[in-house]
């Protein structure tokens, strides 16, 4: 809170006007529309719509496709988060140990952040391409026949790997920052007391890293749930047999391709509630460190 301020009354509104205008036109109004549409049901020609209350939500809860999509999202988010955070933590701990070359390794690991999720999807799709990809070729040598176009589990593996790959650099940067914030004296004291590197990691480093880990956990779940749309669309398009149809993709597909606005609206609202819950969790945690 500032003690000294300016006393104009009109000027602050002029300064806020551009952001508020865009926020209302492109965020709050469409979000309200999504909520409103979720209570409507359009006829087959999209001419008339009637208010049906909670019917769209109830239908979703009854729909095996939607329940499948929730389950797929859960599996996908957990796998992406665990894979990407685990790998990044391993690399961050290693980079933190090599004091002299840490910067060089950081440069070599940081760039995937800049690769678009859609491009990441295309790259891994190419690598896993059943006819000309490198990995199916190698897998064939050991007798495994890879085809993610027809095998649901392999399709899931493909989108998980592409999504996790994209997120490694982000997690790595935050883990390195978190590790560097841990006072060296603590680890030195433990080393003098005879604790080996592995023991030091689990009794000192990892507990002290838990704020960073928790923050990344939330960010990665949000990433896996909402920002991987492009990965899915550029590779499996939700298939085969709905195996990779995560909730964000289904909102788009039902709304744009299926033209089912009521159902798409209801799905949007459910997703918004999830984002709000995750944002609140994240901010409650951040508040402890930074006072807003």
């Amino acid at each position: 809170m500032k003690r000294t301020i300016f006393s104009n009354q009109l000027l602050p509104w002029l300064l806020l006007a551009p952001q508020l205008a865009i926020t209302f036109i492109f965020f709050i109004w469409p979000a309200a529309q999504a909520v409103w549409q979720s209570f409507l049901r359009e006829d087959a020609f999209g001419i008339r719509s009637t208010f049906v209350g909670m019917e769209n939500y109830l239908r979703l809860m009854d729909s095996p496709e939607y329940l499948n999509s929730m389950q797929v999202t859960l599996v996908f988010a957990v796998l992406v988060t665990v894979l990407s955070m685990g790998f990044s933590l391993l690399l961050a701990v290693a980079a933190d140990r090599t004091l002299r070359s840490a910067r060089a390794y950081t440069t070599l690991l940081v760039w995937p952040y800049a690769v678009a999720p859609a491009v990441a999807g295309i790259l891994w799709w190419f690598i896993f391409n059943p006819t000309i990809g490198i990995l199916p070729f190698l897998l064939e040598q050991i007798g495994y026949d890879w085809n993610h176009i027809s095998n649901p589990n392999e399709a899931m593996a493909l989108v998980v790997i592409a999504s996790a790959w994209k997120q490694i650099s982000y997690n790595f940067l935050f883990f390195v920052a978190g590790l560097q914030a841990i006072p060296a004296s603590l680890r030195e004291a433990a080393a003098i007391d005879g604790a080996g590197p592995v023991k030091r990691f689990f009794t000192i480093t990892f507990p002290l890293l838990s704020p960073t880990t928790f923050f990344l956990l939330v960010v990665n779940i949000v990433y896996a749930m909402f920002e991987t749309f492009a990965v899915i669309d550029s590779t499996t398009e939700g298939g085969p047999a709905q195996a990779t149809n995560i909730m964000v993709y289904k909102v788009y597909f039902d709304g744009f391709v299926g033209q089912n606005m009521g159902s798409s609206g209801a799905q949007s609202v459910i997703l918004m509630l999830i984002v709000i819950a995750l944002t609140v969790i994240q901010f409650r945690w951040v508040e402890k460190k930074v006072a807003y």
């Binding site: 300016f6 940081v110 935050f174 709304g255 949007s268």
Partner: protein, 282 residues
Amino acid sequence: MIENRPFLNFLTHLTLIIGVALVALPVWVAFVASTHTATDFGSGTIPMWPGPHLIENYSRMLDSGLSTSGTPPVARMVLNSLIMALAIAFGKIIISILSAFAIVYFRFPLRMFAFWCIFVTLMLPVEVRIVPTFQVVAGLGLLNSYAGLSIPLIASATATFLFRQVFLTMPDELVEAARIDGAGPMKFFRDILLPLSRTNIAALFVILFIYGWNQYLWPLLITTDAQYYTIVAGIKRMADAVDGLPQWHLVMATAIMAMLPPVAVVIGMQRLFVKGLVETEK
């Protein structure tokens, strides 16, 4: 380093080298593919080393593109991406630095209400409200335009929060001194606040440029005119059309060109980028 353990040092470097190699693998494969001709994939053996067709493939894509996929030349799509990314980065910085200035340096009725209106945008990713947002943009007649590509993605709370944090840490004496010297709010903003936030602006610019460049779903939806295709959204259209003849070498050349500018920005401005990333997220 706490104690000297040669074997552990070796293991550390080995882990990092394997990690770097794994992370780089897909890009290496794509780059190798982009230097061969289509027939090199047909034989079933996968090339592991770059071929001699690098310049040929890349210049072909830049000049004429893949006409069978309905996409314009890559140079055109790169230009569109550049316009979109720059418009988003500049637009976001301008509107959020102004609104953060208003929220921190003024007291006015409904101040907290305005703050919360901006705050809620954090919770509404574009993917979630995609259908109604598309309808709004279509209703405003912004389909197939640079304004439609960039403006709906400009508002977001993160940049406002960052500037708010920056302003809150600036000493109160600055305002007092400016007022004693007879400076009005806008003069204070221009002559003191802006220069002092220069590194934050630059750091944020790096992040926002990448954010804008990498947009996918939004440009895919609102551009039906090939003249407005962005490169990231264009790749998908190319890959879709690939089914007939394998044109993988050309798709991969495009993928490499799509990631080159943002990757160059991240590596070239690594210090600023990391600073911006860590500060924006906190």
